[in-house]
């Protein structure tokens, strides 16, 4: 048991890292907050002035604003659905004793090692391209007109690419969870006459629920800020069809060189992400307390 002294010492020793972390977080946030109230455009840097809430109003009334929030949610939910369901299925498969299990497992998790822009480039030019892509070749082989994925289903295409990248993560977490399932429990259920589906529903799924929670929490954090895949493939278009909140901020700040507007967008995004996190923690985070 720690004495008063050791506790004080521990606090003192932790203090530097806490201060560094605080600065690490606080300074950029404070600067973003500051610039969000300034009229500051890089192209006319001499005309900096106080803007009040105008930047916020400007960002919020952007014609793409509501669609970008909707797209952000669709992206997160879509990718989560695919990765959780697909991840469970693949985890169940590669948990079976099969020939070449080690190699199969490495292959399954390998997409996770590909950097997002590279993955997006490959999907764009070699797989989904309506002229040269693999999908187009398949379509032509069966006598169909190739689909122009990024023009006709832009958001769906981005979801596919992102899901492909995050599937290994979900699979890996779920596979470790599966392997921690007590085999005696499984055998007992089997002896009691439970078939595969019953075992899956009444034993495996409850057992996986905590792992699924972890997957959902971690992925949501990353998926709210998807950017590289959109930049490389659709550039937020056609129209605003695949513009998410991150991309809208990029467009404002970097394409328009509008630092004030971009900062305001950043603050709005932080607030919205915290709302999502709050509900997420309440809805699924409960699982972690058990």
């Amino acid at each position: 048991m720690a004495t008063q002294n050791t506790r004080t010492l521990a606090r003192l020793m932790m203090a530097p890292s806490v201060v560094v972390l605080l600065i690490w977080m606080a300074v950029p946030l404070a600067m973003t907050l500051y610039y969000s109230f300034q009229n500051y455009n890089l192209l006319t840097p001499m005309n900096v002035s106080f803007a009040g809430f105008f930047n916020y109003q400007y960002f919020y009334t952007d014609p793409a604003f509501f669609q970008s929030i909707w797209n952000t949610l669709v992206l997160v939910v879509g990718v989560l659905a695919i990765t959780v369901i697909g991840g469970t299925a693949i985890a169940l498969l590669i948990d079976q004793p099969i020939f070449g299990q080690g190699i199969v497992r490495i292959l399954v998790i390998s997409p996770f090692f590909v950097m997002p822009p590279v993955a997006a480039l490959i999907w764009k030019n070699m797989i989904m391209h309506p002229g040269y892509g693999v999908f187009a070749d398949i379509a032509k082989f069966f006598g169909f007109q190739p689909i122009d994925w990024f023009a006709q289903f832009p958001l769906f295409s981005v979801i596919i690419i992102v899901a492909w990248q995050w599937l290994p993560f979900a699979t890996l977490i779920l596979l470790t969870a599966l392997q921690s399932l007590d085999s005696e429990q499984r055998e007992a259920a089997e002896m009691d006459g439970a078939n595969f589906f019953n075992r899956f529903i009444y034993l495996t799924i409850p057992h996986l629920s905590r792992a699924v929670t972890v997957v959902i929490l971690i992925q949501t954090i990353f998926l709210l800020g998807i950017y590289a895949e959109i930049l490389v493939t659709t550039n937020g278009g056609p129209g605003y069809a695949s513009t998410n909140l991150t991309f809208l901020i990029y467009r404002t700040a970097r394409l328009g060189y509008d630092v004030g507007g971009g900062a305001a967008g950043g603050i709005i995004a932080v607030v919205l992400a915290n709302i999502v996190a709050f509900f997420l923690m309440r809805a699924v985070g409960k699982n972690l307390d058990k």
């Binding site: 006319t44 840097p45 309506p130 002229g131 023009a151 069809a241 394409l255 060189y257």
Partner: protein
């Protein structure tokens, strides 16, 4: 410290400063286009003649270059001694005092040899702020064999009506040949370059004299509808993601009957090493609309300029003078052949018999460049300069947003009317914020 050691020390310090000053290193930011990469390869010729100057290259893709250079210059970062910028940026940046005027290019430079349209676009108050490395306008490149097969003949001054009919006639979906390939990828320098030039030739304009956006006018409706219909009937698959490079590949592979784009493309499509159709390409001037006497007025150049933050202006101007001189052109010609010299900047090049012989596209290129007038891009009066762009700082963001809206039309995600209404709304909003509309 005795006086002697002090003097010795002072002398060596002066000597040290003198030697570092005599070997200056220029940092040059440039775009990864073929002509610039070639210039990089030939740099040793420059450093041989100027042993006191070293050159350090930063070569980037166009969008990245623009972002980095703009940020550096706007924040007065001083990373670069020479930057490669377009004629869109030059007048805007010169007015912001971000560039140094180029008055030390030397007596041999022959400034009067620069094409008037190009030189005008790079000057503010009569002073040159950037030296053109290569320049371009836009024209039609078409397949003579496909035209013959369809019984068509390209007129001297084609109209859009003719181009539309011809494109639909040539289209051969079974053999994967599209009648016409045009830019569809969103971006102010991508699809909006073409669409703005097209609309100029339809008599439309971006803004009226009071900076009110004009997307609600009949000219825009006519031009955008023409473009969207044409792309649907005779364009390639995936048109909404095709830019200059994608269309270049398609044309080189024989998959386009026509392509209307930058004149610099001519040397690529007529190069037998890369192009399957090299010997079948014909050239014609940018189309106009029946009853509207205006061709596209597309004018672009990539130029070298010295940021005001550079402390090595003298050496920088020396390099610029070398890279944009007649001697440099002759150097490229001697190493790579006349067809590969940077085009579109000097009158003397187009008078050169060797060049005319080596480049079948020389005469149509010059005609296209001479036809361009960025001070009068369209028949109605405008408050801005620029042919396929509007030379105001806000245009980059606005042009790209509008480009997105229009690319949605050919992707089949939006109608012409909806896209124009959205463009009108967003342009009005942006122009009001920037203070143009009171």
């Amino acid at each position: 410290m005795t006086l002697k050691t002090f003097l010795l020390g002072a002398c060596s310090a002066v000597a040290f400063i003198a030697t570092t000053a005599s070997a200056e290193t220029l940092t040059i930011a440039t775009v990864n286009n073929g002509d610039m990469v070639r210039m990089q390869g030939l740099t040793s010729e420059f450093t041989k003649a100027n042993p006191d100057i070293q050159v350090n290259w930063v070569t980037l893709e166009e969008n990245v270059l623009r972002e980095r250079v703009t940020t550096d210059i706007a924040a007065n970062g001083g990373q670069y001694d020479i930057v490669t910028i377009g004629n869109y940026e030059v007048p805007i940046w010169a007015k912001q005092k971000w560039l140094l005027p180029l008055d030390g290019l030397g007596d041999k430079y022959d400034m009067n040899d620069l094409l008037p349209a190009i030189r005008g676009g790079l000057s503010v108050d009569g002073k040159l702020y950037a030296a053109p490395f290569y320049g371009e306008s836009a024209m039609i490149m078409y397949r003579k064999d496909l035209f013959d097969k369809a019984g068509l003949k390209m007129p001297d001054s084609p109209t859009w009506e003719f181009i539309g009919d011809a494109a639909r006639k040539i289209t051969d979906r079974a053999n994967d040949v599209s009648g016409i390939c045009l830019r569809g990828k969103a971006g102010w320098g991508e699809n909006m370059a073409f669409i703005s030039a097209l609309t100029n030739s339809f008599g439309g304009r971006w803004f009226d004299e009071k900076w009110k956006p004009q997307f609600d006018q009949p000219e825009w409706k006519a031009s955008l509808k023409f473009y969207a219909d044409l792309m649907k009937d005779a364009g390639p698959a995936g048109a909404s993601s095709n830019g200059f490079n994608e269309n270049l590949t398609l044309f080189q592979q024989g998959k386009c009957g026509m392509w209307i784009d930058a004149t610099v493309a001519a040397s690529f499509v007529s190069n037998p090493k890369d192009s399957k159709v090299a010997d079948k390409v014909g050239y014609a001037i940018f189309p106009s609309k029946e009853g509207v006497n205006n061709h596209g007025n597309w004018l672009w150049s990539w130029n070298l300029a010295v940021p005001a933050s550079s402390k090595k202006a003298e050496a920088a101007e020396k390099f610029i003078s070398w890279a944009t001189s007649k001697e440099y052109t002759a150097l490229v010609a001697s190493k790579e052949g006349w067809a590969n010299v940077p085009p579109g900047t000097r009158t003397s090049l187009y008078k050169n018999a060797d060049y005319q012989k080596a480049a079948a596209f020389a005469a149509p290129t010059l005609a296209a460049m001479d036809a361009a007038d960025i001070t009068k891009p369209t028949v109605k009066p405008v408050p801005y300069t620029g042919g396929q762009f509007v030379a105001i700082p806000e245009f980059q963001a606005l042009g790209t947003t509008v480009g997105q809206l229009f690319s949605a039309v050919i992707a089949g995600q939006s109608t012409v009317d909806d896209a124009l209404a959205a463009a009108q709304a967003t342009a009005t909003r942006d122009m009001t914020r920037a203070g143009y509309i009171k």
